[in-house]
Amino acid sequence: MLKLIGCILVILTGCLLGFYKSLQEKRKLQQGYDLKRFLYLLEGEIRYGLTPLPDAFEHIAAKTSKELKPFLVGLSKALKEYQSERFFYIWRKKIKEDLQPFMIEKKFLDPIVSLGESIGYLDQQMQLKTIMFSMEQLEDIMYDLKDQVRKNCKMYQILGAASGILIVIFVL
């Protein structure tokens, strides 16, 4: 009886591990969606409110995912304290400190970093076009990633269950 319970527990643990890994894969994609949503909100703030960047980031922080919140709040605070002569320096620093550590797919950060090089410069149209361009880049990355994520999810779930079974066979 104990053997049976042990076997079930090992198989269940394997399944859970696989499930956990597949969730992480899905989170990778979700982070891309969160960044895209952030860009949409930023576009709205600039298009309809002509909101200055420090205020825009503060407003968006209240509406966006928990993971992006520290980055946006910190960025808004640093800008309001005039911590650097150039927006890009603050932007890059905050991405490195608050965004990079928890981003699973680092590729998502490339369009976000380069966005900081040209945002704030020239007129409203220029801002909107820059944001649209970053959104397109994000979409391209997400498109490439989608198939891979779907395959990986299945693979992790199957591998999890299979590894559980394999361990049981070896032990028995």
């Binding site: 200055p52 420090p54 205020d55 309001k80 002569e85």
Partner: protein
Amino acid sequence: MKEEIYELLPPKIKACFLNQRICAKDLQEIRFRLGQPIIIKYKNKEYFLSKCGGFSTDDQNLYELTQKEMRQVLEYISNYSLYAYEDQLKQGFITLKGGHRVGIAGKVVLDHEDIKTMQYITFLNIRIAHEIQGCGDKVFPLCRKNNKLLSVLIISPPGCGKTTLLRDLIRLGSSCGQTIGLVDERSEIAACYQGVPQNNIGIRTDVIDGCPKAQGFQMLVRSMSPDLVAVDEIGRKEDVDAIEYGLHCGCGVLATVHGNSMKTIPYYDRLKNLFQRFIFLDAKNQVGHVSKILDEEENQILC
């Protein structure tokens, strides 16, 4: 709170202001010109920033503003978001938190015949706003009849304290029971930050912020039923039309205009019939000095 203006200066220049203990309360303006000395107006006198970090009237060995510092000031005054001030740039100024105004000059970019934006901004003039509560105490009783504030036009050349006096008259009128609608086109009077007035403009004052005077005037008259509507720096035909419209609707008007005498103000023929008090300011002894007050018959009631 006026010290907040120092936060907008490049670190090296900011340090000079702080080390020299330049009191922001007495500071009137800071002028930046690319490659030229930094000039400040302090206690009604002009001073230069010297290379050794002090301020003096001597124009030798002066500190010159670099390209990098000009860019820094621009980034700071625009909150790293020059696009957010497009409309203000077209008019040649940016209003800062606290109501301070930054005059801007450089190369203008035209779209057909309209001003599109300004490029290569190389001249800046930071004018520090001074809220002086009580500066209208002396003239306020002379501008009232039956406990009601009359329509008042404040006339003076630039830099003589028109806006400061107007702000105090609004505060006094509002505190004495009259509902006042304020069209604050340049955010200089109420100095609204995210819609909340930073200056004391009384408890019965409604502010329409950043709106062109003529449109704001009509919106307030229609929606907020004010006893008086206040506007700063009138001078265009549509401003005078809006004032006439307001008066026909039964509202009084508090306004300011640039000029030296009655005859030099724009649309004199029309404006002289619209107001009951004309306050003249100059900077003879000090900024905000009331030189004379005329009534609707153009008789002097204070000189």
